[in-house]
Amino acid sequence: MLVTYIEAIRQAMDEELARDKNVLLMGEDVGVLGGAFKATAGLQEKHGADRVVDMPISESLIVGAGVGLAVQGMRPILEIQFIDFISCGFDQVVNSAATLRYRHGGQTACPIVVRGPSGGGVHGGLYHSQNPEAWFCHVPGLKVVAPATAYDAKGLLKSAIRDDDPVIYFEHKFLYRRIKEEIPAEEYLVPIGKAALRKEGRDLTVITYGAPLHAVMKAARDMASEVDIEVIDLRTLLPIDWPAVKASVRKTGKVLIVHEARLTGGIGGEVAARIAQDCFEDLDGPVMRLCARDVHTPFAPAMEEYVLPNQEKICEAIRKLAAY
């Protein structure tokens, strides 16, 4: 079945809504409109307005209501129209949902999924390009995933819906219609917490997730004659699959971490620190990071290009590290 990334997301929700009557979907314009990006097209018609709910412009409400539903055993999928707007529901995510089980001494679960389009490269400007995953990776009680392929988008979303803890699901809008991929017709899940080895190599490991995976893979192919690159797609950012990361680092001794979110305070810092601590004697070069520059993602194309990682910058970083 050849599907786009966004269609994979839509299918995951469609299948889970059909499979479990406790699943429901809430968000702004998810019903009649089918979502600002059409990720929920046709779902209200099929599953009813009670279960695919058009919400007021109230992100705090959307997440908070989701917590209330969850305590009653429902499994709400909460769409944030652009993930940039999750800041408007931040309190409900970090204080309400993330601590729900903990503050009740394990009496209840919080099976919510907060999902929405993240990422830049689409000239979306300051409020339609953000990658705020690091905010949530700092919050215990949450799980954070960021698929890069249509296969993972579907499998991880289904796993997230069935998970008993709150999952923040970052879907990269640059990939929505740029990826068309064969996925199985039969049902499958992708486990939360497992990284994917996308390419084996001996010389250097690139650890990445989300949209930059595609630029990394292309760089790895283009540079195959110069350097043998291993590529790890984290897929889940909380919890990170440390055994996969460390095994690769021990093999290659050189690591480049690539993510589209900003450098300072990003996931790459945590990954680099763990590697430095646990794999120090295996390192054959400094752990390097290629991330967005420490500035907002600007609108004008030349500036956006300057700020975000791209294949050219990835190749440059790989060459630098390979030569170290």
Partner: protein
């Protein structure tokens, strides 16, 4: 001028659009902003207005066709008779003279002050250049410690001559290749077939070397071998220096096919010189004589004064004799540089100095490297003889045995006679990869000759 009509990107995730129908035909005249065609994307249907007035010269996409954003759909030739030059079409609008739209009275302070201009911080000075220092990476440090490698011998190909894992692997492979060409390559092949992501168990990185010395690789982890230590047994983890010695010994035995040959040396002339010197208040041991004799013989047998580099033998110009010294922490091997240019008393003084400083731990790393031949003297409790292990990458080593008075048969004026002489078994080990029997035996024979002749001028 030809103007392109392109597929617009109507929506951030949209990458393509479908041409629904054309509202104009090729050759038709169109006005600016008049509708040209209808398109449909995942998100919207839209009429595309003409970007310019003129004649539609080409229509490049058929109805029903899916084209990517920014692809050219049609071209329009702007007709000068229809479209005025830009300057006339868009005359300058002057806010001051026309007073519109800037009609608001600017009587008060500006709503906000202009932001202050700021100066960026000066860049910090670049770090001072580091000359003459060997640059390595953590994994190289570990490999060097595990294998007792002299990093100065490994050419670094990284930035600023940094020695990387690859360089060490290449170096080790070159060592392995020279000894066990067949076995080594088989092991490399086996290693490549191993899974790409190794098991979580920590494995040293260099495949051939590790495979060659598996027991060492396991022991180097610093873990006790047995999980349960019987009562009374004591587990003594190896110190770093012990690890290095262990690794070195294993590697040398593995690398060089040792041939051990023995000479029985009559030391009575040496003993005579010692006795004379003692009367003059100078305390000489036997070792400086052997060093002196060896240096002389090495000058005459260049192949013994050599080191192996990859698949080459490097005949060393200088004769630098490494002398093993036992210390509390383990064996140290300081080097007497240009031993062949030193007098007996200079050698003696240097050996005494090394002995004293080695015990107090004041030997500098520089004094421990660069030897071209080694001599080991186990001293008065050195037993009859022993078979020494070559100090890599050198090719030969001498070991002094215990000096024992023995009745020996000598030629006394054409007649055999039995006399009492201080005798010593001197063992020489040589690397049979590099040195053939004639050269090896000739060398040891020559050392014996010099010692027995007692000529240490």
């Amino acid at each position: 001028m030809l103007i392109d009509v392109v597929m617009p990107q109507l929506g951030e995730s949209v990458v393509e659009g479908v041409v629904v129908k054309w509202l104009v035909e090729a050759g038709e005249m169109v006005a600016k902003d008049s509708p040209l065609l209808e398109i449909s994307t995942d998100k919207v249907d839209a009429e595309i207005p003409s970007p310019a007035a003129g004649r539609v010269t080409q229509i490049l996409a058929k109805p029903g066709e899916t084209v990517p954003i920014q692809a050219v759909l049609a071209r329009i030739e702007t007709d000068p008779a229809v479209s005025l030059p830009a300057a006339e079409a868009a005359p300058k609008w002057d806010e001051e003279t026309e007073g519109f739209p800037g009609h608001m009275a600017r009587t008060s302070e500006p709503p906000i002050p202009a932001p202050p201009r700021v100066v960026p911080f000066a860049q910090p000075a670049p770090p001072p250049p580091t000359a003459g220092r060997i640059r390595i990476t953590p994994v190289v440090a570990r490999m060097a410690a595990e294998r007792g490698l002299d990093l100065s011998k490994i050419p670094g190909t990284g930035i600023d001559g940094r020695v990387s894992r690859k360089d060490v692997e290449a170096y080790l492979a070159s060592l392995a290749n020279t000894t066990e060409a067949n076995a080594g390559s088989a092991k490399v092949a086996e290693d490549k077939a191993a899974p790409a992501v190794p098991a979580a168990r920590r494995e040293p990185a260099a495949a051939p070397a590790v495979k060659a010395a598996p027991s060492f690789a396991a022991a180097s982890e610093g873990r006790p071998v047995a999980a349960v230590v019987p009562e009374g047994d004591q587990v003594v983890p190896w110190t770093p220096i012990r690890k290095r010695i262990a690794e070195h010994m294993v590697r040398s035995k593995h690398t060089s096919p040792h041939v051990h040959i023995f000479a029985e040396v009559d030391m009575h002339r040496v003993a005579g010189i010692r006795a004379t010197a003692k009367k003059e208040g100078v305390n000489l041991t036997y070792l400086p004589f052997v060093i002196h004799a060896a240096a002389k013989a090495l000058r005459e047998t260049p192949i013994m004064n050599a080191v192996v580099s990859g698949e080459s033998t490097v005949l060393k110009k200088g004769i630098h004799i490494a002398v093993a010294v036992d210390t509390e922490k383990g064996l140290l091997v300081p080097v007497l540089r240009h031993a062949d240019r030193m007098s007996l008393s200079e050698i003696s003084a240097a050996v005494d100095d090394f002995g004293a400083r080695a015990k107090s731990g004041k030997i500098s790393p520089d004094e421990l490297s660069g030897g071209t031949f080694s001599i080991t003297n186990p001293g008065i409790k050195g037993n009859l003889f022993g078979t020494p292990i070559i100090n890599q990458p050198q090719v030969g080593i001498l070991r002094l045995g215990q000096i024992v008075k023995r009745p020996v048969v000598v030629d006394a004026g054409g007649e055999d006679a039995i006399v009492i002489r201080p005798m010593m078994y001197l063992c020489c080990a040589y690397d049979h990869r590099v040195i053939d029997g004639v050269a090896g035996n000739g060398f040891l024979y020559r050392v014996r000759e010099i010692l027995e002749a007692g000529d240490f001028s």
